[in-house]
């Protein structure tokens, strides 16, 4: 990571105004978004959008040709431009041909992408952004920090300062007055401009129509008053049919600003009359700049389903900490990472891709149904492929890839770590054998790992049903008691637990760092081990591991083009279950009973990212805990990431720490003496945080709590 980038993170984290604005926004946004989608079947809606946009991505060339034909038939001039230079030169030529001195622009990310303004200004043409946020940014000489709200990082005082300079008069920070000033200053520009430049939210091939949405009304003025209109549209905005407009216009305003519809939608099909008795000179620039290459990429074509609503930024726990000036380039946040990698070059995304903690919150709300974290992971993988892994990391992964060596070192660490342990915590844990940071309590490596202690457990003889237990590194080496609790529960339900010793790290640390070859080797070793014994199912009490077994082994092989172990990976996936879902099922089937009539008091529950958003199993643990006699008191933002993210907390402790602090506060605010969760990684993070905090809230894995409540 670049030193400069690291510093920009620090500056953003220290910016109290920024974090207050973004923090409040993320909270409001969640509430407003939920409300506006109340009566809508979001899953159905986004499936509809994903279907029409993925069709469009697959038929990009055809649709571009059809759009061109239909728009030209209606009198528009359509120009297909492959590079940013070509777009800029074309617009400059049109401006020169028409003697244009002043251009008004309505908000367009496509023109930001090609840095159009400075180019035109250098040619002596005045360019006025007319969207209020963009105008503020333009006057301040900055770049937008958010796709929908470009100036979200600025306060009213900042804006008053910026405007004061412009009008050379001291202005107050009264928002309506600032807005009025923008109206007064920009109105004459609309009336005088010789050219209007807009983007386009949708381009309909069937009719040659450009669809524009705005709230302020600036796009209508931009496209109506000047004699010449140039619309710059990325090829990903194409859709086949006019009817495709409906689902997109339904989701876009709801997701972007929690509105049913923006104040204005303009649908432009060919030039319309102008007020001088003539007709508009309408130019539509269809911009490629890597979009067609993306459409040919088996993984990244999915990113073309984006409708630029920015909700992936709004829900991102990282974005809300540092904002778009750190987390992104022209395009910011989650999708911005992917677009940066494509539009500006893979190398350009090197720093920002590392910011994603893989919590999956963005994927959940994306109206284009894009698996954003997986694509960011793919960016990572390709970066590693191109540039290699830093040496120190490489040596770590080589260790992880050699099970015997890895486990040997963990055992050694349990001895070495001992003198440092205090009350079950040590300050330096060579868990991933890397440079763990100061200031956080981490668990000691267990003296006896689960793989040894499990052999000593006397399981009832003659049980018919068998489960393979996949422990994962944390339960195996740091929290064997969780594994022992699981054995106790399953035995009670009449299930024998098998522990194939060949099992090893699930590969998540390597995979989430983009080192897929290592992850693939881990996958293969685990498949061999876990399928080596006959069992009815494979159970894990770590959601990250469960997701690895369930989906990621397969995805890793696929993305490396390795087919050899695919069938067995699928076989393993089919029998894998997470702990709570399995135990809930056993309880429902009457095979396992919990003590009756217990009143265990208040508890709060933290949703682990993978359990909630990949496995969608947020209810079973809650139901189990309630059945056991706990009264669940939900915390605020129960499903927001705890900041652990595997080795993320090691690589970016300055980001992880504030996320953890927020989580601790939300837990404490419930007043519950116990917080439960289903992930040993979350336990490590939150228990370590609570320990330092000294609040005395017990942090437990659901498996430990349920094991205590089994009926005799």
């Amino acid at each position: 990571m670049e030193k400069q980038f690291r510093e920009s993170i620090g500056t953003a984290l220290d910016d109290a105004k920024l974090s207050a604005a973004l923090g409040k926004f993320s909270v409001d946004y969640k509430v407003n978004r939920a409300k506006i989608y109340e009566d809508t079947d979001f899953e159905a809606l986004r499936s509809q959008i994903a279907a029409c946009k993925s069709y469009a991505a697959e038929h990009m060339e055809e649709l571009a040709a059809e759009f061109t034909k239909n728009a030209e038939a209606r009198g528009a001039k359509v120009f297909r431009a492959n590079s940013p230079e070509a777009v800029r030169e074309y617009i400059l030529q049109v401006a020169k041909d028409n003697g244009v001195k002043l251009i008004v622009k309505s908000k367009s990310m496509a023109t930001e992408e090609i840095h159009l303004n400075p180019f035109l200004e250098k040619e002596g043409i005045e360019v006025a952004e007319t969207d209020l946020g963009e105008w503020i940014i333009q006057l301040a000489g900055q770049r937008p920090s958010h796709m929908v709200m470009p100036a979200i990082h600025l306060t009213r005082e900042d804006v008053a300062d910026i405007f004061s300079k412009e009008v050379e008069e001291r202005l107050s920070s009264d928002i309506p007055r600032l807005v009025q000033l923008a109206r007064e200053k920009l109105r004459p520009k609309f009336l005088q401009a010789g050219m209007g430049i807009s983007g386009g939210n949708i381009a309909v091939a069937e009719t040659g129509t450009v669809v524009l949405v705005t709230n302020e009304g600036n796009a209508r003025l931009t496209t109506t008053l000047p004699k010449v209109h140039v619309a710059v549209i990325g090829l990903e905005k194409l859709v086949a049919k006019f009817a495709d407009v409906a689902p997109i216009l339904k989701a876009l305003p709801r997701s972007a600003t929690a509105q049913l519809l923006t104040s204005y939608v303009s649908m432009i099909t060919g030039p319309a009359p102008t007020d001088d008795g003539g007709v508009k000179d309408l130019h539509i620039v269809l911009m490629d700049n890597q979009r067609s290459a993306m459409a040919h990429d088996p993984m990244f074509k999915e990113a073309l389903q984006c409708i630029r609503c920015a909700s992936c930024l709004n829900v991102c726990p990282i974005f809300r900490l540092v904002g778009g000036h750190v987390f992104g380039k022209v395009y910011t946040g989650a999708i911005g990472t992917i677009l940066t990698a494509w539009y500006e070059g893979l190398q350009q995304s090197e720093d920002i891709q590392g910011l994603c903690i893989m919590c999956g919150a963005c994927k959940d709300v994306c109206p284009g149904k894009i698996d954003i974290p997986s694509l960011i992971m793919e960016v990572r993988r390709r970066l590693v492929q191109n540039e290699g892994v830093p040496l120190i990391q490489k040596s770590i992964y080589q260790v992880v890839n050699n099970r015997k060596l890895f486990h040997g070192m963990l055992r050694a660490a349990s001895v070495a770590g001992k003198p440092l342990s205090k009350g079950g915590f040590i300050r330096h844990l060579p868990l991933f054998l890397s440079d763990l940071t100061e200031g956080r309590s981490l668990p000691a490596i267990a003296a006896t790992p689960l793989r040894d202690s499990i052999k000593k457990i006397e399981q009832p003889k003659g049980l018919q049903e068998k489960a393979v237990f996949y422990a994962g590194c944390l339960i195996d080496f740091a929290y064997p008691e969780m594994g022992e609790a699981l054995v106790k529960i399953l035995n009670k339900a009449g299930v024998e637990v098998l522990f194939p010793e060949g099992q090893t790290c699930c590969g998540a640390p390597a995979r989430y760092s983009g080192v897929y070859e290592i992850a693939a080797k881990n996958s293969k070793d685990n498949i061999d081990a876990l399928l080596s014994v006959a069992a009815d199912y494979v159970v894990s009490a770590c959601p990250t591991c469960t997701v690895a077994l369930n989906e990621e082994f397969i995805a890793t092989f696929k993305s490396l083009g390795q087919t050899e172990h695919l069938a067995r990976a699928e076989q393993l996936a089919a029998k894998t279950m997470d702990f709570s879902t399995l135990v809930k099922k056993l309880v429902d089937e009457g095979r396992l009973s919990l003590k009756e009539g217990q009143q265990l008091g208040k508890i709060t529950y933290h949703d682990s990212c993978h359990l909630k958003r990949s496995l969608r199993a947020d209810q079973p643990p809650r139901e189990l805990l309630q059945k056991a006699g706990y009264e669940i008191s939900e915390m605020f933002e129960c499903d927001v990431c705890c900041g652990m993210g595997g080795s993320y907390s090691v690589k970016l402790p300055e980001m992880s720490a504030p996320i953890l602090q927020r989580k601790l506060k939300n837990i404490k605010d419930t007043g519950a003496p116990v917080v439960a969760m289903d992930c040993p990684g979350c336990v490590m993070q939150i228990r370590g945080g609570m320990h330092q905090d000294g609040a005395g809230v017990q942090v437990r894995h659901t498996v430990e709590l349920i094991a205590q409540q089994l009926a005799d």
Binding site: E206, R220, L221, P271
Partner: protein, 183 residues
């Protein structure tokens, strides 16, 4: 359908009034002129876009009032307090007006003045966007179709909702049940 439209349009900040007859709507409009003190002065004009609602009889009646403009230049529209145009339909679910705004005067009167008064035939309200698209002949789509939902707004400064940035601060919708001859 009307009730839903009204509720949703009001939620978006529009004012919605319903009249049984065209004459009642006309009376309301003339009354509004008085309240808003329109007059023959920059900033206080009324610009009318050509439309069936504005028939010869109405034109004759209102032309005696001060500040009326029936042919619209950008200068007049920019100097107007109220702009009046007739829209072609509405989407109840989201409180949206739909207008074929190919004719330049329709665009000018709904964009530049402080107040946009829209005439809507109650009968033309449809359920939602898909319903509107289904009944639209895409082969003869107007060059400039407009959808309008409430007044112009922004939340670009500290996300505080502020009305009237570049477009009208007020959107008044007059729904007329019986247009009487005019569509």
């Amino acid at each position: 359908m009307y009730e839903l439209f009204k509720a949703r349009a009001e939620r978006a900040g529009a004012e919605v009034h319903r009249f049984t007859t065209k004459a009642e709507a006309e009376a309301y409009i003339v009354d509004l002129f008085q309240k808003e003190q329109v007059r023959d002065e920059t900033g206080h004009l009324v610009v009318w876009a050509d439309c069936p609602f504005l028939d010869e009889a109405l034109k004759e009646r209102v032309s005696t009032l001060p500040g009326m403009r029936f042919t619209v230049s950008r200068e007049d529209a920019n100097a107007a307090w109220i702009g009046i145009s007739q829209v072609d339909g509405a989407l109840a679910e989201i409180g949206t007006l739909v207008q074929d705004a190919t004719a330049i005067d329709k665009r000018l009167v709904s964009m530049l003045p402080e107040v946009h008064l829209a005439i809507l035939s109650t009968k033309t309200i449809v359920a939602d966007m898909p319903a509107w698209i289904a009944q639209t002949d895409t082969s003869t789509l107007g060059s400039y179709m407009s959808m309008i939902t409430g007044p112009s707004r922004t939340a670009d400064i500290e996300r505080v909702l502020t009305i009237g940035v570049h477009g009208p601060r007020r959107l008044v919708v007059c729904c007329v049940d019986e247009m009487g001859g005019v569509a």
